[in-house]
């Protein structure tokens, strides 16, 4: 299997010399479902933000889907976010004034697609995630689980090879969380999409192909 995420000695030290990440190195293969487990303040979000090209490391290198990331080139970072990465957030972060379908179409506005193609792709994705009858509802009209499904559809809509999820079940009850994990696992298996998920819930580690643990900025594998 080719590597989709290649991390080599990534470190991040915040201003004032506070270390958040210490020489993290690992490789994740295409279609793998990986979880990163760690306590609050262990550096999980820092690592996820760097891997998602939202933050810059102090040192080290990163290759995403065969493309070496140049953190000093903002246009390359935008291009990678558009084509290689999908995000799922803990707070769902759907735009409240857009319908479920419009939220899913949203990333395709920046990476221009014809409106008909956008609508068709978003509609099919929502239907495949069991939200065919909720397309035209606004986020406030959806349950937490439904909102997170919309967010997953939004992350998938550009067909990226990698999806980063930041505690995607943190705001959901146990049963809905299990459903969301199952859904993501299924998507990873069927679409060969690499999932890198940050969570502090160990019990969901069983869904993962591999789990990393982050303690005081240091990554250890299982």
């Amino acid at each position: 299997m080719p590597a989709t995420i290649e991390v080599d000695r990534l470190s991040k030290v915040y201003r004032g010399g506070v270390p958040a990440l210490a020489e993290a190195s690992f490789t994740i293969e295409k279609g793998e479902f990986v979880t990163l487990i760690g306590r609050s303040g262990s550096g999980k979000s820092t690592l996820l933000n760097i891997l998602g090209c939202l933050d810059t490391p102090t040192s080290g290198s990163l290759v995403l889907d065969g493309v070496p990331v140049n953190f000093r080139d903002p246009s390359q970072l935008v291009s990678i976010r558009r084509q290689k990465i999908g995000f799922v957030f803990q707070q769902f972060n759907l735009l409240p004034h857009l319908t479920a379908q419009e939220n899913v179409e949203y990333p395709m506005l920046f990476n221009y697609h014809e409106p008909k193609i956008r609508a068709h792709t978003a509609g099919e994705l929502l239907t495949s995630l069991g939200l065919g009858d909720r397309k035209h509802h606004h986020p406030a009209e959806l349950s937490g689980g439904e909102q997170q499904r919309v967010a997953i559809a939004r992350a998938l809509v550009s067909n990226p090879p990698i999806i980063f999820a930041d505690e995607p079940t943190g705001n959901l009850d146990q049963k809905t969380s299990a459903d969301i994990f199952s859904l993501m696992q299924e998507i990873s298996r069927v679409r060969k999409t690499t999932f890198f998920m940050v969570t502090h819930e160990r019990e969901f580690g069983e869904y993962a192909d591999r789990s990393f643990r982050l303690i005081d900025g240091k990554v250890t594998g299982t």
Partner: protein, 404 residues
């Protein structure tokens, strides 16, 4: 371009979501635009009234050309210059003239215009109360209405009378010598309310024959085909090194003065535009702050800094467009009030002084003023949006997503 259309739809949703805030902000701009539109319309109304009055009282298509002095050299009006003037496009006729002065036996001073009968007919279209034009080379004259009354009153000279004119010459040593010339009043003009009323007009060749040597013409009268072409013809005449004067110069003076007046009125009115612009900056800064998380999420989902700037500026564009339309409507209303209540008040207070305004609108709203008002609103809104847009684009996506 298609991406821009999608962004326009997206921004429209944002604007509709906060329609009351957007309306109030746009209203701030609209008041400024209305003030500018009203003030400029008021100035344009006065300009229009002044120019129409000049047009009614003056012969706009007549240009008087005289010689000029350049680099201490006198540029005279010669026959070749007259030929060149006739070749200028839009010139219908050009008649060279001599200007001299006579006096009567009782020392009544008379200004004399020497012009060929044909040129007088073509250039001035004379209408006679008695008699007719003079034959070429004759001592017969045409007398203007006002001068005819004066000669009759003080000299007892009537239409058809033969009378003596005295021509005074000066020797090189400055000593004066008088010659007598017998002339006959062959025609009297009807009142024209122009310079011909006070002139004695006779054949140009007769005047020329009175001088001992060849002298250049004193002036050329030029008739232009249309008032709109007068400035072009005047420019052509000036390029020959000659001076062009006429009623159009009054219009130029009025235009220059009114440009200045309108500029000052606009500057005062524009102060309210500055307040409106600050309202837009405030609204958009607030909007960016409230949408910090949304902007961060958009960046994570692939929005570039340019995309964020574009989205914010399109919202400002909408505010400007709404403000522009509202401002134009308020400006029309403002002008309507000036033209009804304002005009009635002004005329009642000033009496005959501003009675001419009874026929014209005091404030003149033109499509150009409305278009300018709309464009000023749009441009001002876009400029006001630059700072909030850049502020949004410079957000750190990680911090923005965490924003609560």
């Amino acid at each position: 371009m298609k991406k821009l259309a999608d962004f326009a739809r997206l921004s429209a949703r944002q604007v509709l979501k906060k329609r009351m805030r957007v309306f109030l902000t746009a209203f701030g701009i609209a008041i400024g635009i209305a003030a500018v539109v009203g003030m400029v319309s008021f100035g344009e109304g006065i300009r229009h009234q002044a120019i129409e009055t000049i047009k009614e009282q003056s012969d706009l298509t007549l240009i008087e050309v005289t010689g000029s002095v350049r680099d201490e050299t006198v540029i005279p009006i010669t026959e070749s210059k007259v030929s060149l003037i006739r070749e200028i496009p839009h010139v219908e006729a050009a008649g060279p003239v001599y200007r001299v002065s006579f006096s009567t036996l009782h020392q009544t001073y008379i200004d004399v215009l020497g012009i060929s009968a044909e040129d007088l007919r073509v250039l001035f279209t004379p209408v006679f109360s008695a008699g007719d034009l003079y034959p070429a080379g004759s001592n017969q004259v045409v007398i203007g209405h006002e001068l005819a009354e004066k000669l009759q009153k003080y000299e007892g000279i009537r239409q058809g009378d033969l009378f003596t004119a005295i021509i005074r010459d000066y020797a090189p040593n400055g000593a004066p010598s008088d010659r007598k010339l017998a002339i006959r009043s062959g025609g009297t003009l009807r009142e024209r309310e122009d310079q011909l009323d006070s002139l004695l007009i006779m054949d140009r060749d007769t005047i020329h024959a009175l001088s001992n040597e060849s002298v250049p013409y004193n002036a050329v009268y030029v008739r232009v085909d249309n008032p709109e072409n007068v400035l072009t013809v005047a420019g052509g005449i000036q390029s020959l090194g000659l001076t062009a004067n006429g009623a159009f110069r009054q219009i130029e003076t009025v235009n220059r003065f009114m440009d200045l007046v309108i500029l000052f009125l606009s500057i005062f009115a524009a102060i309210s535009l500055v307040v409106g612009a600050l309202m837009i900056v405030n609204t958009m800064v607030m909007s960016v702050y409230e949408r910090t998380r949304e902007i961060g999420v958009s960046m994570a989902l692939g929005a570039s800094q340019r995309d964020v700037v574009t989205l914010i500026l399109i919202e400002c564009l909408y505010i400007g467009m709404i403000g522009g339309v509202l401002g134009d409507l308020l400006g029309i209303l403002f002008s309507y009030v000036i033209n009804t209540a304002g005009k009635a008040y002004l005329i009642s207070q000033t009496g005959e002084l501003f009675s001419a305004f009874a026929r014209y609108d005091l404030a003149l709203v033109t499509p150009e003023i409305l278009l300018s008002g709309f464009l000023v609103a749009v441009i001002l809104s876009l400029v006001s949006g630059i700072y909030p847009a850049l502020q949004a684009a410079r957000l750190n996506p990680v911090e923005a997503i965490r924003h609560t």
